[in-house]
């Protein structure tokens, strides 16, 4: 396989406790740490391991978003990706438009495999990979915990509600990865320096011939409903009594 394309989304770091703005217009992002979506980091790690085993010649990372997403692409380059593409847009990008932009990049780059995180931890949509596979008319293997490549096909283990599902897919294909696929490597300082010299290309939706369509509007953001404060009990007897009081034991 020549190339693997990996999607990297810039999101609020997973350690940040996200708070809703008092006016309900969004969530607080000022001064908040931003990172690569953790599932996308796992996707990149898997692509790098495939390349290191001789299964691919080049790993390309791609992001769609504001100019600041260059930071996340640099992180991807420091992890070991060979080059980066940023589709720059200051507007919100819905999964369907993201998938269309990725498809345009695929038509140009002709990768043998596209790997994405199973969802981004900001919008929690879990759509882009599936939409991309549909538009590309290629297989999708979502929520993957293992990929075994064998020539023109891949065998992928998926984490599904019933347990583990294994499917065989023809390449090229889209794989979206779950948490247990691997543990991403830490970036070392010399690699960060080296990453600064790797190519990072910026294009627009227009350059790709894709319209950034908006079908949905987020009109209001609210904090989740809080559960009422509970009681603490001293011992097992009191616990059982409390359960009996609620008709649960």
């Amino acid at each position: 396989m020549q190339k693997i394309l990996v999607g990297l989304k810039r999101v609020i770091d997973y350690n940040v406790r996200v708070r809703v703005k008092p006016d309900g217009s969004g969530v607080v992002t000022d001064g908040v740490k931003m990172s690569v979506n953790p599932f996308d980091e796992i996707a990149l790690e898997e692509a790098l391991r495939i390349k290191e085993r001789g299964g691919a010649s080049e790993v390309i990372v791609m992001s769609i978003g504001s100019a600041e997403a260059q930071q996340q692409l640099r992180t991807g380059l420091a992890m070991g990706a060979d080059r980066a593409i940023l589709v720059e847009s200051d507007e919100a990008v819905e999964p369907l438009s993201a998938a269309r932009a990725m498809l345009a990049a695929i038509e140009r780059e002709q990768p043998g495999l596209v790997i994405l995180g199973k969802q981004a931890i900001d919008d929690d949509n879990s759509q882009t990979g599936q939409m991309l596979a549909a538009l590309w008319n290629r297989p999708q293997a979502t929520f993957a915990s293992k990929i075994v490549l064998d020539g023109e096909t891949a065998t992928v283990t998926r984490e599904v509600d019933a347990g583990l599902e294994t499917i065989a897919i023809d390449l090229p294909a889209v794989v979206t990865v779950d948490l247990r696929m691997n543990e991403p490597r830490y970036v070392k300082l010399p690699d960060i320096m080296k990453a600064k010299r790797k190519p990072l290309e910026t294009v627009s939706f227009a350059d790709l011939g894709v319209e950034n369509e908006h079908h949905l509007t987020a009109t209001h953001f609210a904090p989740p409903a809080q559960r009422e404060k509970g009681i603490m009990v001293e011992d097992v007897g009191a616990l059982i009594q409390a359960l009996k009081d609620k008709g649960l034991a």
């Binding site: 929690d124 599936q130 008319n137 297989p139 065989a168 079908h215």
Partner: protein
């Protein structure tokens, strides 16, 4: 008014409980008809189950051998061929629906709203973002079809006392052969299904080994409960992945949830906040699980759990 198509989830013999919850969401949307599509190899019995769901107008029975494997790549084009005349197409936010529905949306060239937790209007919905730390109101355009997944923990299954008509529809899509099912390995065994159990007992990292998890199984069997686990316990290899409760595992809403040796990371809490009563047993009084627990007990689980089982008689 809306005309709504719900995509049934099933294992070839039984409808998954997520289908009746999707119907509950569908009937909350102003509509003049909620239909269910059952795509399977032999749907006679499945369609009977679907026809009994309250509020369903019609069941579309689409039989084809290719549907013996429920793969998004083959199901999606068939659903697109059924989509004409429908304003909304809904599926469950289970791994089945999450895999399938975006593929349907993209083939239709329309957006998807994931994880509907409440219907505010025919094109206005609440959904969780940031692992449930924010709830967003999303509005869609009435000009286009809307594809959506339903957060099943937010809905109660409709009853099974209806009698909808069943219509056979010829399978007529161009089925790709690029995706093939090899096998499904289910690991849960005889215990109640985690997503439908009224009681769930979960264990966390504090169990410290696969062997110690027998404490959890034993208590669960006493209570007739399903068994879950935190991500930490799954990552440590104590239990298989399908037992994971939380943001990236299963989102559940049992009447009783007992968290044992689980600290309560936000990703875990997201998966249980619709539970009726949450009980937490943990040796750390500062554990975040106690912030959401209705009943908390601080102590050593290795003493408490056997004692609890004994005293429950």
């Amino acid at each position: 008014m809306g005309k709504i198509l719900v995509i049934a989830e099933h294992d070839g013999t039984s409808l998954n409980a997520s289908t009746a919850k999707c119907v509950a969401c569908a009937t909350a949307i102003d509509n003049d008809g909620v239909d269910i599509a059952v795509l399977s190899a032999d749907g006679a019995s499945l369609c009977q189950q679907a026809a009994a769901l309250a509020g369903v107008a019609r069941v579309l029975k689409v039989d084809h051998d290719v549907f013996s494997a429920q793969l998004a790549a083959t199901l999606a084009p068939q659903i697109v061929s059924l989509a004409d005349g429908y304003t909304h197409i809904l599926g469950p936010s289970t791994t089945f629906g999450k895999d399938l529905m975006p593929r349907v949306a993209a083939l239709l060239g329309v957006a998807q709203i994931s994880d509907i937790m409440e219907v505010k209007g025919p094109y206005s919905f609440l959904r969780p973002i940031y692992a449930g730390n924010a709830i967003v109101t999303v509005e869609a355009s009435a000009e286009r079809k809307l594809v959506a997944t339903v957060r099943t923990a937010s809905y109660r299954a409709v009853s099974s006392d209806g009698s909808a008509a069943v219509e056979s529809v010829d399978a007529g899509a161009d089925f790709p052969t690029h995706t093939r099912l090899v096998e499904i390995k289910a690991s849960s065994g005889d215990r109640p299904d985690l997503q439908t159990a009224t009681k769930v007992i979960s264990g966390g990292r504090a169990l410290a080994s696969e062997e110690n998890f027998s404490l959890i199984y034993s208590l669960a069997d006493k209570l007739g409960a399903g068994v879950g686990a935190s991500r930490a316990a799954v990552d440590a290899g104590y239990v298989p992945n399908d037992m994971q409760v939380g943001q990236t595992g299963k989102i559940i809403a049992p009447d009783l949830y007992v968290a044992i040796g689980i600290s309560g990371a936000i990703q875990h809490l997201t998966g249980i906040k619709d539970a009726g009563t949450i009980v937490a047993i943990n040796k750390d009084p500062e554990a975040p699980i106690f912030e959401v627990a209705d009943i908390g007990l601080v102590g050593d689980l290795f003493e408490i759990v056997p004692e609890l089982e004994k005293q429950l008689g």
